[in-house]
Assembly symmetry: C2
Homo-oligomer: 108 residues x 2
């Protein structure tokens, strides 16, 4: 199943933040998120495993009691219910992948 | 768990093709692959689910009897044992995610 970026409507999360649900199936979902510099995603948890890849920009990840600066090509993995929060230091594009799928994202 | 791109040694697959195993844990693995224009990945299957995101470049995906051209931001999902093959039309960087992890990639 092919999902082209241009065919997907972005969902605005808050000013300067949006996401697109891209390819998904079975127990795997790919979500592209865009955040403007200065955006903050408060620390949060979910039962889904998450792995994220920074496509562009720069962010500060707080996870497991540490802050780490990530740039293009860098990645992180958050296990089930592991708290993670992010401050965006530059306008950024990040690919978040989840298993299982974030059914909660499909509802609005 | 943070994995920085620069800290990971690439594995050469064939001339013009390499991969880096990036963040992984539990049932999720992120792999960055780089292919030079003209590279071909023959149609193949694996029992793992795969979702891929094109970071840069251009490729022709053959899956489910069709060829699709994908560029930056485009994605595909291949379910377990679904045949997929790729011709790279430009130098490309792609993020492949798998569930469960590709244990076979960890062995050399």
């Amino acid at each position: 199943m092919v999902i082209r970026n241009a065919d997907v409507k972005k969902k605005d999360l808050f000013p300067g933040a949006s996401r697109k649900i891209l390819a998904r199936g079975g127990k795997l979902m790919v979500v592209e998120v865009r955040f403007a510099a200065g955006s903050v995603v408060d620390a949060h948890t979910h039962p889904h495993e998450q792995a994220s890849y920074v496509v562009s920009g720069k962010l500060a990840l707080t996870m497991e009691g540490r802050e780490e600066i990530l740039g293009p090509g860098d990645t992180f993995y958050a296990g089930p219910n592991v708290s993670h929060g992010v401050r965006f230091l530059e306008d950024s594009v990040v690919v978040d992948t989840f298993t299982p799928q974030r059914e909660d994202f499909l509802q609005g």
